[in-house]
């Protein structure tokens, strides 16, 4: 992790499935970074992928180049879905951190019998061979916080300890970006996600 203008440079990859709220998760981090005076570049998947396709967002904190993380360049991966963690591993540094939601989303190729969904435990075991893995069911955690829809925010909470962005700024941007009625649930989900990783 090189230093640029006094800011720690962190390359973060968010992977998941269209509809899980990957863009909102990256927006929360991005907005908080700007408030904290940290340069940020990000790239996200739009369009076709919103129909249940595989999505990947690149986030580069402390970078003033392009938004694309080089292969083997990401320090951390935030995987909103287990299989999608594996799909983009090329981008993660050896020994990098993966925070992964263990709740699978079964693609149409599997429901229609054309492909098989790999065993989640096998995914986690394989990942653990080369990377530091923090795994938990973020859907259940969000449900506990008040709504399964807050899964993405629980995951942002989970990664928050690794980011060069103050927790307060992240929480402010959660409050600014989630629907008004759901602020309380989302703040709770964020805190629960954060604790989950701290404790592990």
């Amino acid at each position: 992790m090189s230093e640029r203008a006094g800011v720690k440079k962190i390359d973060l990859l968010i992977t998941g499935v269209g509809g899980q709220g990957a863009i909102l998760a990256s927006d929360i981090i991005g907005k908080a970074a700007v408030v904290s005076g940290i340069p940020i570049r990000a790239a996200e998947t739009h369009g076709m992928a919103q129909r249940g396709g595989s999505v990947v967002n690149h986030i580069r904190l402390g970078s003033d180049f392009g938004s694309m993380i080089p292969k083997k360049g990401a320090d951390i991966m935030l995987a909103l879905e287990p299989m999608e963690a594996v799909r983009y591993l090329d981008f993660l540094k050896d020994g990098g951190v993966i925070i992964v939601n263990t709740q699978p989303i079964i693609p149409v190729t599997v429901t229609s019998g054309m492909a098989k969904y790999p065993d989640v435990q096998e995914i986690l075991d394989t990942l653990s061979e080369k990377y530091i893995v923090k795994a938990f069911n973020a859907d259940d955690l969000a449900y506990e916080a008040g709504s399964r829809l807050a899964m993405n925010v629980a995951m942002v909470g989970a990664v928050s300890g690794y980011l060069p962005v103050p927790k307060e700024s992240l929480l402010e941007s959660v409050k600014a970006l989630v629907p008004q009625k759901t602020i309380e649930i989302n703040v709770r989900a964020f805190e629960m996600g954060r604790r989950k990783v701290e404790e592990s």
Binding site: A43, M48, K71, S112, K130
Partner: protein
């Protein structure tokens, strides 16, 4: 203090348009360009006119009208949209403008959501029009006011070409001020400029050629091109647009001694290129898609008699297709100079299930395709078009996709070629208004015996739910005429027009049977709101469940392909998940009456 905001590239471009004092914006939705118009439309206290036009050609012409009235206008589209708008655009280059006109044409290297990868910089070259090629979202925003001024100074339209990673990249953006003083429109009757009779067009072509050098010189001085000469470097790197930041980052990481030229405008800055060529032995050119800079560099080197080795797409140092990145640059460096910069690869071997995008749970298109297939069968031919429904390829009812609006004309061509098999084509509502109408008119006029299915989901869904002439409101939410697809088809002389609810399989299949039997061009309009926009508009349906007692595990419902239906291998029963939107089509498919609404 400067204000910084976290923005999507397209939002930054919209901001640039505001800072440049735009007075009219028109466009046709297309990924990755759509959010520019969407952002301008959602702004409160607008002091500019804005519209979604029915296609890119029309949007271009609307923008031309404004520019000829002396105000600043913009037209937005994706790369393939310029093919549709190429007719007015090529001649507009001759006629020129009064008010600034920017054609924003977003390219999509790697076809993230497109049918091809064409490079819009070629169109700029073709039309002899300048092109701006931003390397970051910040630069994209900053370039726009400059591009307006440039357009006005030379009285010529300009192309602004972001790529997917600019349009859908995000960054902290430093904002500038927004002008409030804007000129009053005043159309000047300059017949020798606005009437492109041969007598007027010939001297305008001469004029267009005559200003090329002056434009090139002005652009070379602009902040969008920059040359950093390293005194001892024998290697030069030239990067264009977004590819320049990948090259720059890799060079800095490697600490390599190389002179660096960043290019952000076309015609290319010959002066700067020459300056670099005079100091280096070899130059590596890094640009996405076509070798446009590369060709120019070779010309310049040859004209100046400089023995510089030029490396790029020629010699396969840099790929001519797909998106570039830092790895591609390292790969090119390695190949060109035999440097030891290979990035390690070492992914994990685990078999993953592919996750292609699919039609949403409850999408009415799936139901329409199901009925279509039932009636027309495997033997029929199914030309289709561009929109969400192209994802229906899994239903076996999408067998051609060429360009917007082409499904009906391809169906006609197949029929007139003598195909004896039944032909049933499909097209979305927005695509029909875009360029499908012409094709239907042609099919009816020339007596094609085909069935045309208009998949009317009451919105332009794939690009993010933009209104079209069929929905009854404009981009700003203002009520307007709701054009009736059925009346339109009848007015064009279609002899058989049926409007059906695709959720009602029996009704839909009856209509398809009648259309199949009809001699001539028949239209079936399958009308049901998009499930996403429907949900937002408050449509609530009761979800369905499988009764495990009645389910025989025949998989008929699973084969329907709805993402809400899974098969429980353990119990050999179908299961409906929480994704169910309550369309009820699977209940009609089940032979065992095992699918029913959830009891309240």
């Amino acid at each position: 203090m400067t204000t910084r905001e976290y923005m999507l590239g397209n939002v930054a471009i919209a901001r640039g348009l505001l800072e440049g004092g735009v007075q009219l914006a028109a466009g046709y939705p297309g990924t990755p360009s759509s959010e520019i118009i969407d952002t301008l439309a959602s702004r409160e206290g607008r002091d500019y006119y804005i519209e979604w036009s029915v296609n890119e050609k029309v949007a271009m012409e609307v923008a031309v009208g404004a520019a000829w009235a002396g105000v600043r206008s913009v037209v937005t589209m994706k790369h393939v949209g310029l093919n549709v708008a190429a007719d007015p655009f090529m001649t507009l280059a001759y006629a020129g403008t009064k008010g600034g006109l920017i054609a924003i044409v977003a390219d999509d290297p790697s076809c993230h959501s497109s049918q091809n990868e064409q490079d819009t910089r070629r169109y700029a070259q073709f039309a002899l029009v300048p092109c701006f090629d931003p390397s970051t979202p910040q630069e994209a925003k900053d370039m726009i006011p400059y591009a307006f001024e440039f357009s006005e100074k030379f009285e010529i339209p300009v192309i602004f070409r972001p790529t997917t990673r600019i349009s859908h990249g995000k960054s902290d953006i430093e904002l500038g001020g927004i002008p409030t003083d804007k000129p009053e429109p005043n159309f000047e009757k300059l017949l020798d400029r606005w009437v492109m009779l041969p007598k007027n067009a010939r001297p305008r072509h001469t004029h267009l050629l005559s200003i090329q050098k002056a434009m090139e010189d002005a652009l070379a001085e602009s902040p969008w091109n920059s040359l950093e000469l390293k005194p001892d470097a024998k290697l030069g790197v030239i990067g264009a647009g977004i590819a320049s930041v990948y090259a720059k980052e890799a060079l800095e990481e490697l600490g390599l001694e190389a002179s660096f030229l960043k290019i952000g405008t076309y015609p290319v800055p010959k002066k700067l290129i020459l300056e670099m060529l005079e100091t280096v032995n070899a130059v590596l050119i890094f640009e996405e898609l076509e070798p446009i800079v590369e060709e120019q560099v070779k010309l310049i080197a040859q004209e100046a008699g400089l023995p510089v080795t030029v490396m790029g797409k020629a010699g396969s140092f840099v790929p001519r297709e797909g998106e570039l990145d830092i790895s591609a640059f390292l790969e090119a460096l390695k190949k060109a100079f035999d440097l030891d910069v290979e990035p390690e690869t070492g992914s994990i071997s685990l078999e993953l299930a592919p996750r292609p995008p699919a039609l949403c749970a409850g999408c009415s298109h799936r139901a329409t395709f199901y009925s279509m297939k039932k009636v027309f069968g495997k033997d029929a031919i199914y030309p289709s078009d561009i929109g969400c429904y192209t994802l229906g390829i899994q239903s076996g009812t999408v067998e051609t996709t060429l360009c917007m609006g082409s499904s009906i004309s391809i169906a006609s061509g197949l029929y007139h070629a003598g195909e004896k098999r039944p032909i049933c084509c499909s097209i979305g509502d927005s695509t029909f208004f875009h360029t499908g109408m012409n094709s239907l008119l042609n099919a009816v006029f020339n007596k094609a015996n085909i069935t045309v299915t208009i998949l009317d989901n009451r919105i332009t869904a794939m690009t993010g739910h933009q209104p079209n002439p069929g929905v009854g409101y404009t981009i700003t939410g203002e009520p307007t005429v709701e054009v009736s697809l059925a009346e339109l088809c009848r007015a064009m002389g279609t002899g058989s027009v049926a409007v059906v609810d695709p959720y009602n399989l029996e009704e839909t299949q009856e209509a398809f049977k009648a259309a199949k039997d009809f001699e001539g061009t028949a239209v079936v309009i399958a009308k049901q709101p998009c499930v996403i926009s429907g949900k937002r508009a408050g449509i609530k349906r009761i979800p369905y469940v499988v009764d495990p007692e009645k389910c025989e595990g025949c998989k008929q419902c699973v084969k329907f392909g709805c993402p809400a239906i899974e098969f429980d291998e353990e119990n050999k029963r179908a299961v409906i998940t929480a994704l169910c939107s309550g369309c009820g089509v699977c209940a009609q498919i089940c032979k065992f009456d095992a699918i029913r609404e959830v009891k309240r």
